[in-house]
Every structure is written in structure tokens, then in C-alpha cells.
């Protein structure tokens, strides 16, 4: 394993130093990333967080029109309640705070604990669980939160920026999650700095279908196939769970080690698939947004838009990872 790090146990802190140095619009304090501009009175504050290793998620989405604070944990390890408590108190502008939580046991537990201990702040929370590779049944921890997190953060962020009250922001955030589905495919495993070797071994002629964003193995292995077929597997899984229809917001997301050129190849196939179902890509993103360290592979996330969600998606955003309109 070769990584551009100083040491396995300093990587999160070192990266946050770099983040702070690169973006004067951000402040980093006690492993929490804030907008340098501080909370705005009357605006609902948005706090997200989760394990590190998914950059630009979440710290890269702190800024106007998205998050007020992000709590990065250690690599693939949810943040601790202290971080979340600090963030929640600091971003409260009097209108309450929304916790955006990806549905993983660790994330849920730590955010819950923090929320309980923040009884001086009005806290609501939204659980993101968009990954159709996981069966949503009594026999699992429920679906994982993956690419839809970005959609929830962007749209809830736009709504909060407009001055919507906490219950509305929370409701629309949950609606975005409801309308979103994801599926991921890995060509290689990621390697965590602490482990120093790939989390799983994948032969050169095999892919993992239905992977998460923490190097969890997928639901099954399949022979390596052309981009067209891999895209179809992902899209069939999404379509089978939430029929593709109308105007869609589509993210073709790289897992961290995949060249952008390949993501565009996948996007072309996803677009063709969606047209084939009579639906339409109205808005899209192609790139590394919700990554898994150096993993090679992609995920697709689809959200069924309506006019209001489209308007909120289009609203100005100014963060290191997503920016338009200002």
C-alpha cells in the first residue's frame, strides 16, 4: 500500500489542516468543519457527518446553500457525540438544527446520543437510506445511506437558506431520501490506511455488485463486463425498486480511484437506459462525490424530481465540492 499520508493515525487531522488551508470559507475546530461566516440568525442549521474516507462528503459540502457544519470521524468510523454536540450548538441560529444521518448503526447511535445531550437546541433528524443493494427488512440494519446524502444535503440546504422552518426542512429532506435510490459496483477494494491492504480481494476478472462505501463486500460477485452491462445491472436494481419515470436527478459517482473519463462512459449508458424506460435525466452530476478511499468503481443515484425539488436543486450553492449560481 502506498498512500500520500504522513502516518495512518494522523491522516484525518492532516487532511483537515489541508482543507482549512485551501478554503478560507471554512473553519476547522476540534475536528468539526464550519462555515467561517458562522450561524445565521433565524436559519435552520444543517449538520451532517460520518466516517472519513468519503471525500468530498461531508466537509466539502459545508457552505452557502448546503451544510453549516460537518463532523468527520476517523476513517470509516462515525464521529463521536462530542463533535456532533459542538457542531449542533455552534450552528444553531435559533431556528433549530437538522441532523443529516446516513443509516449505519454507528452513525445512528452517535447522532442519537448527541441529540439527546443537546436538549437546549431544537434538533430534528433525517435518515438517509437509499442503497437498494441492501434488503430493507427485519433481517438487516436497513438500507445504507450513500449517494442520496448529497441530494438531501443540497436540497435541504437550499430550503434552509430560504428561511424554511425546521419541520419543513426535515420533511423535504426525508422526501428527497424517499424519492432516491442508489446502487454501487466495485472493480477493486479500497485499502484503509490502518489495515494497509485491500479490505477484500477481487480477482482481475470479477466485480462486486451492490457494494457500500466502506469497503463492505457487495451482495454478490459477477464476471467483469463492459460498462454497458454493469450500468444496466445498477439501473435494473434501481428501477426494480423505484420505477424510473418523469424528470430525474442522476448522480454517476466515482468511488475515488476511477478516472473521470470512465464515469462519463458509464453516464452515457445510464442515460441510454433511462431513455429506454421513457424517463429523462433533467439534472445530473458526474464525478467523485461520495467516495470510498481509493476504490475503483461507480455508483448511480437517481432521484425523482418535481418542480419544487428541481428549483431547490438549482438554487445557488457555494461549497468546495459543489458550486453554482455564485
Amino acid at each position: 500500500m502506498k498512500k500520500l499520508i504522513n502516518a495512518a493515525d494522523s491522516v484525518v487531522g492532516d487532511a483537515l489542516r489541508g482543507l482549512a488551508a485551501a478554503h478560507p470559507s471554512l473553519r476547522v475546530r476540534d475536528q468539526v468543519v464550519y462555515r467561517a461566516s458562522g450561524p445565521r440568525a433565524g436559519k435552520v442549521g444543517l449538520v451532517s457527518g460520518g466516517g472519513s474516507g468519503h471525500e468530498p462528503l461531508h466537509a466539502g459540502f459545508v457552505g452557502h446553500g448546503m451544510l453549516d457544519a460537518a463532523c468527520p470521524g476517523e476513517i470509516f468510523t462515525s464521529p463521536v457525540p462530542d463533535q456532533i454536540i459542538d457542531a449542533t450548538r455552534a450552528v444553531d441560529g435559533g431556528a433549530g438544527v437538522l441532523h443529516i444521518v446516513k443509516n449505519y448503526t454507528g452513525d445512528v447511535l452517535n447522532f442519537e446520543m448527541a441529540a439527546e445531550l443537546c436538549d437546549d437546541v431544537d434538533v430534528a433528524s433525517v435518515l438517509v437510506d437509499d442503497d437498494v443493494a441492501v434488503q430493507d427488512s427485519l433481517y438487516t440494519a436497513g438500507r445504507r445511506g450513500t449517494g442520496a446524502t448529497l441530494f438531501v444535503e443540497k436540497i435541504a440546504g437550499a430550503l434552509a437558506e430560504e428561511g424554511a422552518p425546521l419541520d419543513v426542512v426535515a420533511r423535504v429532506a426525508a422526501e428527497v431520501d424517499d424519492r432516491s435510490r442508489s446502487f454501487g459496483v466495485a472493480l477493486t477494494s479500497c485499502t484503509t490506511p490502518a489495515a494497509g491492504k485491500p479490505t477484500f480481494d477481487l480477482p482481475d476478472d470479477r466485480v462486486e455488485l451492490g457494494i457500500g462505501i466502506h469497503g463492505e463486500p457487495g451482495r454478490r460477485r459477477a464476471p467483469m463486463a463492459p460498462a454497458r452491462e454493469l450500468a444496466a445491472v445498477a439501473m435494473e436494481a434501481v428501477h426494480g425498486d423505484l420505477p424510473l419515470q418523469g424528470d430525474l436527478l442522476v448522480l454517476v459517482n466515482g468511488m475515488g480511484g476511477t478516472p473521470l473519463m470512465e464515469l462519463y462512459v458509464v453516464f452515457a449508458e445510464v442515460d441510454a437506459f433511462i431513455r429506454g424506460k421513457g424517463a429523462r435525466i433533467a439534472r445530473s452530476l458526474v464525478g467523485d462525490y461520495v467516495t470510498s478511499l481509493d476504490m475503483q468503481g461507480f455508483s448511480v443515484t437517481v432521484c425523482r424530481l418535481d418542480d419544487e425539488l428541481t428549483r431547490l436543486w438549482d438554487a445557488p450553492v457555494e461549497t468546495p465540492g459543489l458550486r453554482w449560481g455564485r
Partner: protein, 208 residues
């Protein structure tokens, strides 16, 4: 069982977790996200530091301090779960500590994990090591055994419980995403629980 016993327990657990760190990570790599060893190592190192910097005045303080430190420093699923277990043990434990009181507090800790994790035995989690250990302790109390023997039985039960997770299909935590593919692997949290329970016996036996 005095304060020193509890401090020694956490020190031994910290030592053993460091020693077996890579193995725990390997287990987590197979059905999770390859961080359980790093998480617990970081957490118990912090527990040890906290117990050194602010020496606890009682067993209760030692347990609550350890639990709070784990919650504050680990993150992930195991941080809140182990942290709540130790905090609940501390809050339940009556002093002076007898084996019976210890066993009662231990069971309260296990129940805290079950409640927080919304999990039950058979879900392929740390509970599958902790619950048998708790039952072994309760039985030992009823049989009037000495702490050393009681802890040795608990350690054996935890170890067997951990191994018994191998054929299970996970219903909770990250391993549940794998469905059938989670079968055939030992649960990392069950494995670490077995180590922590084994430390009880080590410390009671004086072989620290």
C-alpha cells in the same frame, strides 16, 4: 474487587486489544469495514490514559469513566455500544463490589447493549459473546464460586459464544448488508468482547 481491580482490568484489556488489533481488523474486513481493531485500540488507549490522568476513586468511577471515554473517543457502532455497557455497569454496580453485584451489573451492561443496538442473541453481534458470559457469571454466583473461577467460566462462555457467531447470518450492524455472505465469519465485536471478558480472568488470576 476494589478500584485497582477495575483499573487493572481496563489496562489488561487495552494491552490485549493492541496485541490482537490486526486480527480484529481482519475479522471486520471480512464482513464489515476493517476498522474494529483500530477503533478499539484507539478507545482503550484513551481509557487507559484517562484512568491514569484522573485516577478513579471507586469501581463505579472507573467503569463510568471508561464508558464515557469509549463513547467520546471511539465512534462507529462499537464506541457507543461498549461505552454504554460500561457506563450502565457503573451506574448499576453497588459497592463494595462482590461477585454477585458484579454479575448483576454485568448483566445490566449487556441489556444496555441489547437496548441500544436493538439486537438480540443470534443476530451475530457482540451480544453473542456478552450474553453467554453474563449467564456464566450468574450461574457461578449461584454455585458460590470464587471470582477467578467465575471469570474463567465467563471467559470460556464468551469465547464459545464468539465462535458460535461463525455460522450465523448477521441481522444487525454492517455484516447484515452481506446477507448469506456473512455466514462463515466470526463477528469482530463478539471476538473483542471475548478478549475483554478474558481480561477479567487474567486480572483475577494475577497474571497481568
Amino acid at each position: 474487587m476494589d478500584t485497582a481491580f477495575f483499573v487493572a482490568w481496563f489496562e489488561d484489556a487495552a494491552k490485549v486489544v493492541r496485541l490482537r488489533r490486526d486480527e480484529l481488523t481482519r475479522l471486520d474486513a471480512a464482513i464489515g469495514d476493517a476498522d474494529h481493531g483500530a477503533n478499539l485500540d484507539r478507545g482503550f488507549a484513551e481509557v487507559r490514559a484517562a484512568l491514569t490522568d484522573w485516577p478513579p476513586a471507586s469501581p463505579v468511577q472507573a467503569l463510568v469513566s471508561a464508558g464515557t471515554t469509549l463513547i467520546r473517543r471511539v465512534g462507529g457502532a462499537s464506541g457507543p455500544l461498549y461505552g454504554s455497557a460500561f457506563r450502565q455497569m457503573g451506574k448499576t454496580l453497588e459497592e463494595p463490589v462482590t461477585l454477585a453485584r458484579f454479575a448483576g451489573a454485568f448483566e445490566a451492561g449487556v441489556v444496555a447493549v441489547e437496548r441500544l443496538g436493538k439486537a438480540a442473541p443470534g443476530d451475530k453481534t457482540m451480544i453473542d459473546a456478552l450474553a453467554p458470559a453474563s449467564r456464566a457469571l450468574a450461574l457461578a454466583v449461584r454455585e458460590g464460586l470464587e471470582p477467578l473461577e467465575a471469570f474463567e467460566r465467563a471467559a470460556r462462555a464468551a469465547e464459545e459464544g464468539a465462535l458460535a457467531t461463525i455460522p450465523m447470518r448477521a441481522r444487525k450492524g454492517r455484516a447484515s448488508y452481506l446477507g448469506e455472505r456473512s455466514v462463515g465469519h466470526e463477528d469482530p465485536g463478539a471476538a473483542s468482547s471475548a478478549l475483554i471478558v478474558a481480561s477479567l480472568a487474567t486480572v483475577a488470576g494475577g497474571v497481568s
